[in-house]
């Protein structure tokens, strides 16, 4: 099981009120990856719920340093300041949550922030920081840069805005200016994963591969699956950085969720009570279609084709994974960056790497990026040789 899957289950357990099991799962990941930001966030939320505010704040400071754009962490910090009747800081953090423009699925963070600010959503001021985030997320880095610079004129210490500016510059391929901003970010948030990824790319582009890889490795301590790095680097037509394989983590039966995945696990009562048995050791004999309503899905969540292919890869059902990925590549329904990211993620599994790289090459040819396609095909050839050896 990937660490992010364990954390997703921890989050789900937390939302269902099973906070003890949530924190057990998070601690299990932290034991292996002490700087895992998402695991530390789950632990912080549990500490907040238990009224252990100092402990919660300690984890939240780390999470915000690693992920300055994490709206959940900012919202939790705002709530803690409010509990401590530090209204000024609570409102500052709440404003920051709003300006981060949380994802659609993260209404809770926005609601917390609006509650602290005492305003309705339609009364929110549209600040340059908000515009910067919206424009960057809409794929307009040029205007995002202008708004971010205006926002920084007003609040030069805002690391989240500076990170938005750095990302805009990075997307505009103004690497020296991006590096300058990343250096300032590291002064204040030296664990920042996204800044590390951008700086690693800048170093690699200058031929300082070892330094770039080393920096990327530091980001991997916080995000061991390199999810942020994969998502960011997938925007590039080509890069020289090597992303390590996606790690797997065993979850002891004692803390394994009773409805973990939409597939293989038998009903809880039928599970062996053996602490050494992992979820991976219980493969399903029967193929499971992604239709229906698997228990594991959070309420309202759609089980997408992408979820399905990830599940197939987790089960090591390579043939079916290849079939579904081929459909994804051919139907043009997803954004190219998303398909690139998914295939690079799939290529992280050595047994599937050659196929995934070849599919990525085909996809890049389809999307008229021959140079990037050549890179993918070369990796496919390299993976085939490794497999043959």
């Amino acid at each position: 099981m990937r660490p992010s899957e364990v954390i997703e289950q921890a989050r789900q357990a937390f939302h269902e009120g099973a906070s003890d099991r949530a924190v057990e799962l998070a601690e299990h990941v932290i034991a292996r990856y002490p700087r895992h930001a998402s695991a530390r966030l789950v632990r912080a939320l549990k500490a907040e719920a238990d009224g252990e505010l100092d402990q919660a704040l300690e984890d939240l400071r780390f999470v915000i340093s690693a992920e300055p754009l994490n709206a959940r962490a900012a919202a939790a910090t705002a709530r803690i300041f409010q509990q401590r009747e530090d209204d000024a800081r609570a409102q500052d953090e709440a404003r920051r949550v709003v300006e981060l423009v949380p994802d659609v699925g993260d209404n809770a963070s926005l609601e917390s922030a609006l509650d602290i600010l005492g305003v309705d959503a339609d009364a929110l001021p549209m600040t340059p920081g908000v515009f910067a985030r919206i424009h960057l997320r809409s794929g307009w880095p040029g205007t995002a840069e202008r708004y971010a610079r205006r926002a920084l004129d007003e609040e030069p210490d805002r690391i989240d805005i500076r990170l938005t500016l750095a990302e805009a510059l990075w997307q505009l391929n103004r690497l020296s200016q991006c590096e300058e901003q990343c250096t300032i970010i590291f002064d204040r948030a030296n664990d920042c994963v996204r800044a590390a990824v951008m700086l690693a790319h800048v170093l690699a582009e200058r031929g300082r591969m070892a330094e770039g890889q080393d920096l990327l490795g530091r980001a991997g301590e916080i995000d061991p699956e390199y999810l942020e790095a994969r998502q960011m680097l997938a925007q590039l037509e080509i890069h020289r950085l090597v992303l390590p394989d996606v790690p797997q983590i065993d979850v002891p039966a004692s803390i394994r969720p009773t409805h973990a995945a939409p597939e293989s696990a038998p009903p809880p009562a039928a599970q062996p009570d053996d602490a050494d048995v992992t979820a991976e050791s219980m493969p399903s004999d029967e193929p499971v279609e992604p239709t229906g309503e698997p228990e594991a899905e959070p309420e309202g969540a759609a089980f997408t084709q992408v979820d399905w292919v990830r599940e197939l890869i987790r089960r090591e059902d390579w043939r079916e994974a290849e079939r579904v990925l081929r459909e994804i590549v051919e139907d043009d329904a997803l954004a190219p960056a998303d398909v690139d990211g998914l295939l690079e993620e799939a290529a992280g599994r050595p047994a599937f790497a050659a196929t995934a790289w070849q599919l990525l090459g085909d996809f890049r040819m389809r999307t008229r990026r021959p140079q990037a396609a050549a890179e993918a095909y070369l990796r496919a050839a390299g993976s085939s040789e490794e497999t043959d050896a």
């Binding site: 790289w357 070849q358 090459g361 085909d362 040819m365 021959p370 396609a373 095909y377 050839a381 085939s384």
Partner: protein, 111 residues
Amino acid sequence: MPDAQALLADLKALDDVDGAVVWRTGAAPVGDLAENVSPVAPGLLASGIGTMEQVVETVGLGHVDELWFLTEAHQGLAVRLGDWQAIIVVSLDADIDSLRNAVTERLERQA
């Protein structure tokens, strides 16, 4: 893509053609090369030619219609016609001029 597969079969049937790769702009390449080369060879050849086209265009030399290469054992010819592109790999003693005409003719039929 049936069109690409048909064109590929057509090219492979030409005298002296040892291998061929075919693709249409916006589609993945299909190929039939010698058995002892890498399974990703069609993709590599196609993306390599595509990269070369981009390079030539980027430096302002115009659009590439044909590329020919020579190794110690083979000749290779890439021909573009509109959205369609084909690469053939032939032996050293093959008549590349007549093959060029044959490939172009088949691409014209496809276009």
